[in-house]
């Protein structure tokens, strides 16, 4: 496999208005999605958002209540899992404990009647750099090694789509970072469409070309990591991906490419391109690292007080209370410009207009906050 970049040209994976009900509960709600052939795609969301159900429907382990699933021109909606050219890397790997690593990887090939599996299995093992473990049993491998074997076992079949169900969830942080890079490398090498389900926003952002953020059976927003982070379209996305400061505000005017909004007597500017609503009631958003402890910018709040400070190595994180008792998070890089403030110190906050975004004000301001550690 190392020598052949697979360019199967199998076509995009298309989910067309797919829903899944369990009794009255709607796990996936009228979801439409196109995953371009050969891309690394992440379905990101908190537990219970429907991402795993979506994945299982693509794998054929669940049947959609409504809608269709296609790969290219091929409708696979009701096809049995063992008939579709889709393979899954399961959560906790689900390796066959009674078979050697070699036989685990050869399993899919043998089922399809391929007699000479040796070269392919060896290539797959080399791809995950575990060639020396072929004769071991899964129980003798570490979690990280089992994870790679699970990837090799799926990838050796050269599926049209590879599904990864929280594949790194059971690994410790350091190993997870390493595997993220590894998976990305493997995906680039084999060129197969990867669909990665995760609740870890950092994981999704590190690996995926495109991320679909899911919440309550629907896709909230889809885009590159940068787009989702810098220009979220909903409060859920803003809060779920990293931390975010949201301020309730009113739009006063929209002109000259910018909107002027006010909140508690303060006036702020937002580029119109970053206003994702027609409503006059908005949530004004700005990421913590975009805030500066200064008072020269267009958007600034004076007379704030530091209420908490924690030093986290690369940055110092402050909680700053505005005059109207809203707490904002500020990350300050630990370089020369460091302010070294303490609890109780008076400060001003400022940030650039182009770092500001405005969302529909009818949303729950806390949607998606503090969800990521639930699982």
């Amino acid at each position: 496999m190392a020598n052949s970049k697979v360019s199967q040209d199998t076509g995009d994976l298309v989910l067309n208005r797919v829903s899944k009900f369990y009794g009255d509960f709607c796990a996936v709600d009228d979801l439409s999605l196109t995953v371009p052939d050969g891309s690394f795609f992440a379905l990101l969301g908190p537990s219970g958002c429907g991402k795993t159900t979506t994945l299982r429907m693509i794998a054929g382990l669940e049947e959609p209540s409504q809608g269709t699933i296609q790969i290219g021109d091929n409708d696979i909606t009701t096809q049995k899992p063992y008939r579709r050219n889709v393979n899954t890397v399961f959560q906790n790997y689900a390796l066959f404990p009674h078979l050697t690593i070699f036989e685990n990887i050869a399993f899919g090939l043998r089922r399809r009647g391929i007699k000479d599996v040796k070269t392919e299995v060896e290539n797959a093992l080399n791809l995950v750099e575990l060639g020396h473990l072929a004769e071991r049993k899964p129980g003798q491998l570490s979690g990280g090694q089992q994870q790679r074997i699970a990837v090799a076992r799926a990838i050796v079949n050269r599926p049209e789509v590879l599904l990864l169900d929280e594949p790194l969830g059971a690994l410790d942080l350091k190993l997870r970072r390493q595997m993220q890079i590894e998976l990305k490398r493997i995906q680039m090498e084999v060129g197969i469409t990867f669909i990665h389900v995760t609740h870890d926003q950092e994981e999704a952002m590190t690996m995926a070309d495109t991320i679909a953020v899911m919440n309550q059976g629907k896709i909230e927003q889809m885009g590159s990591a940068t787009e989702l982070y810098e220009a979220p379209k909903t409060a859920f996305v803003a809060n779920f991906l990293g931390q975010c400061n949201l301020i309730k505000a009113k739009v006063q005017s929209r002109a000259g490419g910018k909107a002027v909004v006010t909140a508690k007597g303060h006036t702020f500017e937002v580029p119109l391109s970053r206003v994702s609503t027609d409503s006059d009631s908005v949530l004004l958003g700005v990421r913590p690292e975009k805030l500066r402890l200064d008072d020269r910018g267009v958007n600034s709040i004076k007379d704030c007080v530091v209420t908490d400070r924690s030093f986290v190595g690369t940055s110092t994180q402050y909680l700053v209370r505005t005059p109207w008792d809203l707490e904002l998070v500020v990350f300050e890089q630990n370089d020369e410009g460091l302010h070294d403030l303490h609890v109780g110190d008076k400060v001003s906050l400022e940030w650039d207009a182009e770092h500001t975004f405005a969302l529909d004000g009818a949303q729950d301001i806390n949607a998606g906050a503090d969800l990521e550690d639930e699982e």
Binding site: L61, K80, R83, T88, F90, N92, F96, H98, F107, R111
Partner: protein, 300 residues
């Protein structure tokens, strides 16, 4: 051996750091050890010694002296070959039947029973609440000439009125199968229940249809249970005499019946002892071969 795994695992914890000369482990071992020595080790040596004894000319019935006569074994075996073979054949058939009945049952309880799992498990063990003898006697009713099975079968065109089930080999094998069924079901259930359903999904994901998944994943993973269950059924069934006594006829005698009558009716202790040892040795050899062949040592 599969069912010993749990026991051996417990001993493997490294305790090198602690240099304790505590006698606690020995105290804990003592009751079991004393019990085993008194009621197993000593009797087995006594039985071994009895097996080579001879009754002196003209001595009273039941009086034997040690003469190390190993010919006893040859005599005992040649005189009862037929019952030996029958014991193993009956036990073998009963084991296969029990496996055929218990596997789907255990599979169903492990994977498909949902909230009824515990109820079903209790039902598997429920027969133990009544006496083994009573349950076996009950089978004479069930298989009786006027019983439900015979009268139903007589309705079918293949059987005439001469059909009988009591006092037949079928009755003995049925009794054996029935009586040892829980010993087959429970280890099977334990093995099946441990299978991660995701491995079955993974097999489906890797192009195996239902049957192939069963053959290549479910069965191999259930092997420890199959081995444990077949042993727990075959070993006691081979030595059983109750089923043959209550459900059989003189031509369905098993080796257990011979041993029993040698001990209690004929008072021929050496022959009975020699037969017991031969039975034990045969079972031991068969079990060893079986475990070797099924290769379950490797299964974790």
């Amino acid at each position: 051996m599969a069912f010993l795994h749990g026991a051996t695992r417990n001993h493997s914890g490294p305790r090198s750091g602690i240099k304790s000369r505590s006698i606690t482990p020995y105290l804990l071992l003592a009751p079991g050890l004393i019990w085993l020595v008194t009621f197993f080790i000593i009797p087995i040596f006594s039985l071994a010694s009895t097996s080579t004894m001879v009754r002196p000319e003209g001595a009273q019935i039941g009086t034997y002296v040690q003469e190390l006569r190993f010919q006893n074994y040859v005599d005992a075996f040649t005189a009862n070959q037929e019952q030996y073979i029958r014991s193993f054949v009956y036990a073998g058939i009963a084991t296969i039947l029990a496996l055929a009945i218990a596997f789907p049952l255990a599979y169903m309880i492990a994977f498909k029973s949902g909230k009824y799992r515990n109820v079903l498990l209790v039902m598997v063990v429920a027969p133990f609440f009544t006496s083994f003898l009573l349950r076996t006697v009950a089978w004479t009713q069930i298989l009786g000439d006027e019983g439900p099975i015979v009268s139903t079968l007589k309705l079918l065109p293949f059987f005439d009125d001469s059909l009988r089930l009591t006092a037949t080999p079928i009755a003995v094998v049925s009794g054996l199968t029935y009586n040892f069924l829980p010993f087959m079901t429970l280890p099977l259930y334990a093995s099946l229940e441990r299978i991660d359903p995701r491995t079955l999904e993974a097999a489906g994901d890797l192009y195996a249809n239902g049957f192939t998944t069963f053959r290549k994943v479910t069965v191999p993973l259930a092997m420890p249970g199959v081995v444990a269950g077949t042993l727990l059924t075959f070993i006691p069934a081979a030595g059983d005499y109750v089923n043959a006594t209550l459900l059989g006829n003189p031509n369905t005698k098993m080796i257990g019946n011979v041993i029993e009558s040698r001990f209690f009716a004929v008072v021929d202790y050496p022959t009975a002892a020699a037969l017991s040892f031969t039975l034990m040795a045969t079972i031991l050899i068969l079990v060893t071969l079986y475990i070797r062949k099924s290769g379950t040592d490797e299964l974790v």
